[in-house]
Symmetry: C2
Subunit: 333 residues, 2 copies
């Protein structure tokens, strides 16, 4: 019996809970029986060693209600027996908190961690990996980059044995939506941003996306985890998309190019940057909408391209579930 604790019960945490309910039979076949023994958010939580009633917990949050007060995540870590935590609290790339403390405390106790939270990995990747190794725990983080688009396990496992020369990616769906709409409609950045806000694709304060901060955080994770580097957020050269004009698209398109916000780490060229780049319109990275994409250059396999949905509750949950399966598939052998 695998005992799971879910920390953070927003869109991602609830998405995971929904998949754990809906796909019980399929998942039992892959990893055996499981039970969620605790769910927490920043305000409260539910502990039940016989299995939290996930449907009820989801209903409470959907109705804008609160999980019962008086239960904190640290209480759960200290007092509940569980095998793996799903850390899905909100990203803070400056402090990594509260996820960083949650992950540290779990790994110290030998509890495996599956996370969608970029913050702790951006702030303390090396430390967390060492902590996991020391305590024979696993730290999985497919969901931090690219949503449902496979990239961490794809590079580590499917391309195992390859040297990775570079990764070039579209890692922020909001920017890609704005740029691909600007390409088609030739409207201004401000006009399309307003449209994206209405559709819920851009946040009220879009800084985190449009200034390339989100993409840069993901790039740091890719560089450190897949290319053996040791870089920090501030090492990323970063330009956002706020100054791109319809005229820039005009000129680009005349020459057969479009403009995309590309996150790029290149070991050979010593590049670590997020910036708007000209991309040939038939290039695999010239994708539209909120998709994410990555072009991975390797020595033996050559170039690999992968494209998928970069965000969304179900999509991020899919990445978390694949990490859970990976954890227990290997453990079970």
């Amino acid at each position: 019996m695998i005992r799971i604790a879910i920390f953070g019960f927003g869109a991602v945490g609830r998405g995971v809970a929904e998949v754990l309910i809906e796909k019980r039979d399929l998942l039992n076949g892959l990893i055996g029986d499981y039970r969620v023994v605790a769910v927490t958010d920043s305000k409260g939580g539910i502990i039940d060693e016989n299995g939290v009633d996930l449907r009820r917990a989801i209903e409470i949050k959907k109705g804008n209600g609160r999980l019962p007060e008086g239960v904190t995540t640290l209480d759960v870590i200290e007092s509940v027996d569980f095998d793996v935590c799903v850390e899905a609290t909100v990203t803070n790339i400056e402090t990594g908190e509260p996820g960083l403390t949650h992950i540290r405390e779990c790994l110290r106790r030998g509890i495996d961690v599956v996370t969608s939270n970029k913050g702790p990995l951006v702030v303390a990747y090396k430390e967390l990996v060492r902590l996991a190794e020391k305590n024979d725990a696993k730290l999985m983080f497919e969901a931090t980059v690219g949503g449902a688009m496979p990239i961490i396990k794809l590079v580590r496992n499917d391309l195992a044995g390859n040297e990775i020369y570079s990764i070039k990616g579209i890692l922020n769906g909001t920017c890609n939506y704005i740029l691909s709409r600007m390409e088609k409609e030739r409207l201004t950045y401000e006009q399309i941003l307003a449209e994206a806000k209405e559709l819920g694709i851009a946040e009220a304060d879009p800084t985190y996306d449009v200034e390339g901060i989100d993409a840069a955080a993901k790039l740091v994770i890719l560089a450190n985890s897949l290319m053996g580097m040791d870089v920090k957020f501030d090492d990323v050269e970063r330009v956002g998309i706020t100054n791109i004009t319809p005229n820039a698209f005009e000129i680009a398109m005349e020459k057969g190019y479009t403009i995309r916000l590309i996150a790029e780490v290149d070991r050979v060229e010593e590049i670590l940057r997020v910036s708007p780049r000209l991309i040939p319109i038939q290039h695999p990275l010239a994708i539209g909408g909120t998709l994410n994409a990555a072009l991975i250059k390797t020595d033996t396999a050559g170039d690999i391209v992968v494209v998928g949905r970069g965000a969304g509750s179900k999509e991020t949950a899919s990445a978390i579930i694949s990490d859970l399966v990976e954890l227990f598939r290997c453990r079970g052998l």
Copy 2:
């Protein structure tokens, strides 16, 4: 110490040997120490329990020489102690031989198998999977489909927990080369085929590729291994590319389409076919050259696209190496 036997020492077997030599340090870090204790081809072989001199074996074959006679693959299976076989003999999709016998005999003895040979999987997938389970052995076959393009492990692991609705792919690089050249040059099929033969992209007898036989064999493997189906080669509806005219491209391109040979398995629409299809020119499957691509439709992750080099000695070796790593990575936990 992992003891490896390589059966089949053509382009793929030698490619694997080269990677095992060149990347020893990297691979030692991933799977520990290893040694190739036997290499065979259809005419002979070398057995050395202290490690075959792979460089010499490669030299012999490159100089059109022969491996020493008097050693057969079945001798090796019966008399040599080894942990995993790399089965890289030539594909025969009617009988599956000689690979089928090699794989059966290894699995029966509990020896893990990593293969690039489509034949045994097309002929006897279910039987081999059962045999592997019964004997607690593993059967890995990433290299049978898509060359260096990740697909088997990508779907099984990276997309674990997803239901796969359909897979649509370009699974034959020769056909894709011919079609994408026809698209650009508007020459006849015969003209481009002649060019492809000169470049070594098409065989002297191109039937296997251009009639869709190779793509159909790969489709059978995908359907059976990734979608829980139980289909045979003859179940695939199959049309090749030999009747496509420059005029067909003319008409397609006018409407914003191109033509590609698409292998398609769709559980919902009950489709299992290989045929030339109209593809919008900006669609992710509208790739050029000898690349392979796949569009995987899933319930939770949505649509995933992956593109990579579909053939080549090093590329296929890359897939085999990733299977080897997967085997021993999990075993080592």
